[in-house]
Structures are given as C-alpha cells and as structure tokens.
Symmetry: C2
Subunit: 456 residues, 2 copies
C-alpha cells in the first residue's frame, strides 16, 4: 500500500510545497501581542486544510489566549485511535538583521525550506494533515481513527491546551499521541525521542533606586539595579554550569546504563557539533558528563535575555533603577517544577544584594518526561520509520521541552510517539530556520505508513 502513498506524494510535491509556504507566510508569533490576528489566521488556515483533507468536526476553539484547532475522523470502530498534536505558532524572528531573507517569506535554498517555523513546528505539524489527505485520496478512508489537537501557544507556555486537555479527557480519548516536533539524530537516521526535559521559565526583576541616578554624584553610595541583578544571577551557577541553588539536584535520576550505552553508539561528533551547530570557540558544561548527557539528562539554568539602564548608542552615566532578566531551568526526571521554583525563589530572596529588591514572575512550568520504548505503538512507529529510511531506528532524548506530552500522560493516560523529521542544524528559534524539503515529504509518507501499520 505504501507505494500508492509514495506515488501520491510524488505527484503532488509542488502543491504540497506551495501549501506549506502559504502557512509559513503567516507571522503567527504567539509571544507578540501585535501578532494576535496573525496567530488566529494561522489557526483558520489549519482548520481549512483539515476539512480539505477529509477530517470531520473541525473546530477552531477560542481560549483565553490563542485558539486550539480540533478535528477527528472516527469511522474505524475496533481500530486504535491516534491523537495528532502539533503547533501552528512560532518563535519571534529577531534578531531580524541576521536573516538572509525576510523570516516570513519562505524560500528554497539548497533543498531547504527557509522560514521562521519551517521545522518548528509548522512544517512538521502539517505532515499529519497531509498524511490524512493522502490516505483519503488513495484509499477513500483512513485505516484507523484519528483526532487532531493543534495549538497556537506552544512557544508561549501552552496554558490553553493544558487546560483543555485536563477538562476534555473524553473528547480526546485515544490510544497514543503522535507528536512531530523533534528531529532525526542525523540526516537519514530514523529517530524516536523517548525523553524530554521539563522547563520552568521566569522573569527576574531587580529594583534599586527610585529613579535612574547620576553615576558621578551617587556612584559609591547608591545601589545599582543592573549590577545587583548581575551579582545575583552570577551566583545561580558556577563557571562549569553547575547550578548553585540548594536542592536543585536532589531528585535527578541518572539514565540507566543501557540507555547511556545506546547514546555512546550514536553517530555524534563533538567537533562537528561545536563547529556546525554551536559555532563558539568551545563547548561548556559540567565536567564528568558527555555532551549528550549534559543536554539530555542534566538540569540547566540559562538567562535568555537581560535588559536594564541605558543601552542606546554612546554614553550615559546613570545608576539604573531597574533591570530585568529572563531566566529558565530545564528539568530532568524526576525533578518537580513546583519544588524547583520554590528553591529558585528562596535562593533569589536569600541572595538579593544590599539595597536591591527582587521580584520573580513565573511564565510557565512543565515537568520532564520519559516514554516506554516497548509500548506497541512505539514499536510499530520504530519499524515503519526504519522501513521508510532504510536504517535501524534509534531512541534518543531531547533537551527541549514539550509540556503537552506531560498533559497527555497525566490526563489521558497515553504515551506520545515523538517522531520528528527535523535535523540538528535546522536552527530552531534562530535566524534562517530551515526544514529539509525532502524530510517534509518523508514525514508525510512515514506518518501515513504508521497509520496503515498501526491500523492493521
């Protein structure tokens, strides 16, 4: 049967490309209030394409934030039900000056589709819809039951989908979730992700003098909010990246020896990773752990941005009154987001510099996750993926976070197949984000084939 699907995808390549380019043209930046209407437009686009693919009960569901899109096709009683998840929102595109082309004008460069959201996650999410279309076109029906729940707040914390999943377990009941928001470990290497880090994302605000002060007249006696924030944040981790917040490592469960051994066999070249992906003078991180352990199985603390005082051109001699940083921790099994936030809050309060008051705002909090590689659906996915790409499927973790996978586990009691088609150098969240066009087609074919085989 897969040959018919393959032929369908090949015959429709041009149209499939134009469709995803249309979606990529919508600047659905969920963190930016000024793009609210664009985010809505992307939701409507997804809903229209679901209807066109033969999905039913398509619904754009309003939320307190950005809309969810639901759809289903449930005409195979007795067969399994797959809950397809993805997100149509994207990260902000700044720094804009580093893009070779405008981020929302997709272009093909060397077989890559370059645009914000190409890989994360519009291009990948769309493979599910197109797999349904292909199956309908070729067979006139689907080989199993599907439900779709697509969100527009993944890049901004995903609060609405978390609430929706918690409140609608009956509507969303399924045997397994299918999530394509990860990547192949290497070009052509079929990869299933069975572990994700959790994330707590915060804003730390420091306040010193009532207003910006002249640094000549008050320097030496007045607290400086920018320096106070610097002083405080510098204490959060040491030069090796080891987090200094008491209790942070208490619940960290190291990976089993079997898993560590499988990671050691992965085709990972540290020098290439440094040169092609990171592009710094050297890698950093905790001594005594491999790079893969550091990014997959160790908690980390990062400052994503900082702003305070005078940052224009030239010189201004002020002692700034306030400063703000975006700070997050990535969590690994079995760390608990609430306990970690408590520890962070206590640490910041206990270490607030003299004359500086500190406020901590929590923007999101999601737990770490692992998936059992021996679940039947995962085994089918691994087999199908291996057949599509002609290589043995590897099981990896990701250092990233997909909070909804935790919600599916908690509220629906189902595991998630993390079957992604991106590549390590896709530049997610970076300028010139790309998605290999071939992997877009591979994604459609593999998802369709997974539906066929899991429906047998």
């Amino acid at each position: 049967m897969s040959t018919a699907i393959d032929a369908y995808v090949r015959q429709n390549e041009q149209r499939l490309l134009e469709e995803i380019k249309d979606l990529l043209r919508i600047p659905s930046i969920s963190t930016a209030p000024e793009h609210k209407a664009d985010v809505r437009r992307a939701a409507e686009f997804v809903a229209d394409k679901m209807r066109a693919a033969g999905l039913e009960n398509v619904e754009v569901i309003p939320t307190a934030g950005h809309p969810l899109v639901y759809a289903d096709w449930l005409h195979q009683p007795g067969k399994p039900t797959v809950l397809c998840y993805g997100h149509y929102d994207v990260q902000p595109a700044d720094p804009l000056e580093l893009w070779r082309n405008p981020p929302f004008e997709p272009v093909l460069e060397n077989g890559n589709l370059v645009a914000r959201g190409a890989a994360d996650d519009k291009g990948q999410m769309y493979t599910h819809i197109k797999a349904v279309e292909a199956l309908h076109a070729v067979h006139g029906k689907l080989p199993l039951n599907v439900k779709f729940l697509i969100e527009g707040e993944e890049e901004v914390g995903g609060e609405s989908i978390a609430d929706y999943v918690a409140e609608n377990p009956a509507r969303l009941k399924a045997d397994v979730a299918l999530v394509s928001d990860t990547e192949l470990f290497a070009e052509g290497l079929p990869t299933l992700c069975i572990g994700l880090r959790g994330l707590v994302y915060t804003e730390v605000i420091a306040r010193g003098p009532a207003k910006d002060l002249h640094s000549g007249i008050y320097g030496g006696a007045a607290p400086n909010a920018v320096f106070g924030l610097i002083e405080l944040l510098s204490k959060c981790k040491d030069a090796n990246g080891r987090i200094q917040i008491p209790g942070i490592y208490d619940d960290v469960r190291p990976p089993a020896k079997e898993e560590l051994d499988s990671w050691a066999r992965l085709p990972f070249d540290e020098a290439e990773f440094l040169r092609d992906e990171v592009g710094a003078s050297r890698l950093t991180g905790e001594p005594g752990y491999t790079v893969l352990e550091r990014v997959w199985a160790r908690p980390t603390l990062e400052v994503h941005g900082i702003a305070g005082g005078f940052t224009g051109a030239g010189a201004k001699t002020v002692i700034p009154a306030t400063a703000t940083a975006k700070l997050s921790l990535r969590l690994v099994p079995d760390q608990n987001p609430d306990r970690i936030l408590d520890a962070l809050r206590k640490f910041l309060e206990a270490n607030a510099p003299a004359g500086i008051s500190i406020e901590l705002r929590v923007l999101s909090a999601g737990p770490p996750l692992t998936v059992n590689p021996h679940h039947p659906a995962i085994e089918v996915a691994a087999r199908v993926f291996q057949e599509t790409l002609g290589k043995k499927t590897v099981f990896i973790r990701s250092g990233g976070s997909i909070p909804v996978v935790g919600d599916f586990a908690t509220h629906l009691g189902i595991p998630s197949i993390l079957m992604g088609f991106g590549l390590p150098d896709d530049g997610l969240h970076s300028p010139n984000e790309k998605f290999r066009l071939e992997n877009y087609y591979t994604g459609i074919r593999t998802v369709a084939r997974f539906f066929e085989e899991y429906g047998r």
Copy 2:
C-alpha cells in the same frame, strides 16, 4: 554696583525665563545621532544670544562631532581674563514614561524649571551669557576681559573641545576658567567645588555561539553570551562595591585630614540623602568610609546598562549569541585613566568565561582633578558668593566628572572656578530634571558680581 545688576535682573525676570525655556525646548541630545541637527540648532541659539549680550568674535566652530561656540570681549587691557565654559548638549531623556511632562517642554512647578538640561547644563551655562548682558546694560562695558568656549559634546565624552583646547592655547589664554556645572551643597549654601572625579567609560561586548541557539537543545553544552557577561562583570566588584581589578587602588591618594574634617562639618543628613535623593531601601558602598568620602574620594565601578538576548514580552528560549554592557570607572587623585584602562582590559581578558570572547571599547577617558582653594580668583569667588547668599562659602568635591577642567589645567595652565547653582535633588540625568528658578537669577547676579570684583 551690584544693586544696579540686581535691579536689572529683577526687571528682566520674565524675559530671562522665556529665553532659557526657548533653549530648553531644543532636544540637543548629543549621544543620539538622530538629534544632530537639534544640537546644531542649540549651538546657533547660544551664538545668537552671545551677540545680543555684546560679546564679540562670536563663532560656531565646526568639529568632527558637535560644534563649539567661541566668543570674547577683550577691551580691558591690564585686567584679568576669565574663560567661561559650559555645555549646551544634554543627556538622553529616557525613560520617557517617568516624566510628568515631556522633557523638552519646560514647565514651572513649585518654583522649579522642569526640563531635560535645566540644571545640566543649559540653565547654568546661560547665567554667564546673561551676566555679560547685564553688565553691558548697566555699565556699557565689562569690568574685565572674557572669553567663552561652550561645547556640545559634554555628555558624550567631549573629544572635540579637548582637541580644540590642546590646539588653541593662545586664543584661549586666560587667568582662570569659570565653570557652572556643579551644585550648591544645600539650598542657600554658597559652594565652590575643588575636586572632581575622573571617568573612563567603556562598552564591554561578549560573544558566544555564532547565533542564538535553542536553549533546550543546546543548554548544558553551549556557552551563553549573556550569562558569560554576567559572570565576568560580577567579578569586577564585590558585594560592598570594592573593585576587584588588581592595581586599581594603587594610586589612590586619600584626602588630607583638614579636608575630611571640613566635610564632616557639612550639613549632610544620610537618612535624608537616602530618602529624598536615592530612594532605595538602603545605601551601599565600601565599609569604613563616609558617604561623602565614597562619592567624592573613592573610585567606583558602575554598569550603566546591559542588553542581550530576548527582552520582549513573554518567553523565548534562546541561548544568546551576544551581549553588551556599558561600564565605567570614576577615578580619584592620583589615578591615571590610561593605567586604569590597561588594568580593566587585562582583568576582563584574564577572566573571560569559557567559550566567550570579550571586546572592550573605550568611549571616553578623563583624569580626576583638584583645585587650590587659595588661588586669588577662587578667593574672590568665595567672597562674592558669600555676599550674594549671606552665608560662608563651603569647599566641597564632586563625584562627577568635567573632563575639560583637566584640559584647561594641562594645556592652558589655569585653574577652574567650579561655581554651580544647582541643587542636590535636581535629578541630573534623571526624569523630571529641574533647576530652581531663583538659583538661575542668583547665578546671573553672582557671576556678574564675580566679574566686577575680580576686575577691580
């Protein structure tokens, strides 16, 4: 004779107010390239008013940066020559949202003229021109010779005037300089400043990965430019404000016991200073030094602003590629700016975090200064000031920096009378900067009286 001057000022109060308001309406922000034409306009305004006041050889002198304005009146051979200095440029007005009124729409509030530059330095600089006008109006001539050199780059490092003074010692030859860019120690207390801190102002740029990276995928292995900068800057001083750069304190000369004793007698209330001026929860700084010692006689290191990574609304999970901070040191006798910059550069290089490259850009560098209180012109100024305000003149230092005073000493061999009419709570460089209107008139009267007495 002073009664005639007093009467002239009183009769012309309204016009004198309107004139300074006109000057304050020009947003002559020297650090902002988009205000270049406004800075030029302010120079032309000053030149016009000099001509109207009876000054001669008025010239707007083009420079590589903003123009200088020169003028003189030299018809009293045998009498001393005073070189009047001031600046017509102002600091940026941000944060704009904290101003009660637009910064370049001057308003009178409770006897204060509120606008950016009201006290620093347009209002004060203008007293010299109006003193000349008053003397001409009352006596038909000046009692001594004057030269004016007014700049438009004081807030941006003052490079052009430094060059001009170095290259034109004959044209600028004088017996003493008169600078009104400081403040009364307290309302109604005649004050001469006889010490200024020096300033080296820099930009520190940290670079890590080649581009912003996804903090999930790379967090734990990739260097973070924002955190690297935080780590590095935190090492520059300790929690007490003690600078940690080796050699920084080597050349610091403590004030003489006599000077320290006179500071102890000044009407300084630490609680009031904290509450009314600083507005933080407490003061900070090196233990073992009084507040006045800390701001007048101790070197300090401040970060004026910092920017890097994602600082918009919401959450973006990046590991930033670059970050920048504005960092300065205030210097005291006998610290040398070049030696201090060397020490800073070495320290930053030696302490650059793993994977982070550091660039140091020097924006300006000026030495600390002291003036001999027993110089004849200073003694006349002290006596005149005492007569105008009816109290004994006090001698203080300022923690601020007026680099041109060093240039006058070096290239012209003359001391500067730092006779300012601002008040400690004028909010220089802050939102709602003000200048007490009464002190504007006092300034005109005192400067005119100084010319009269020094010309005897």
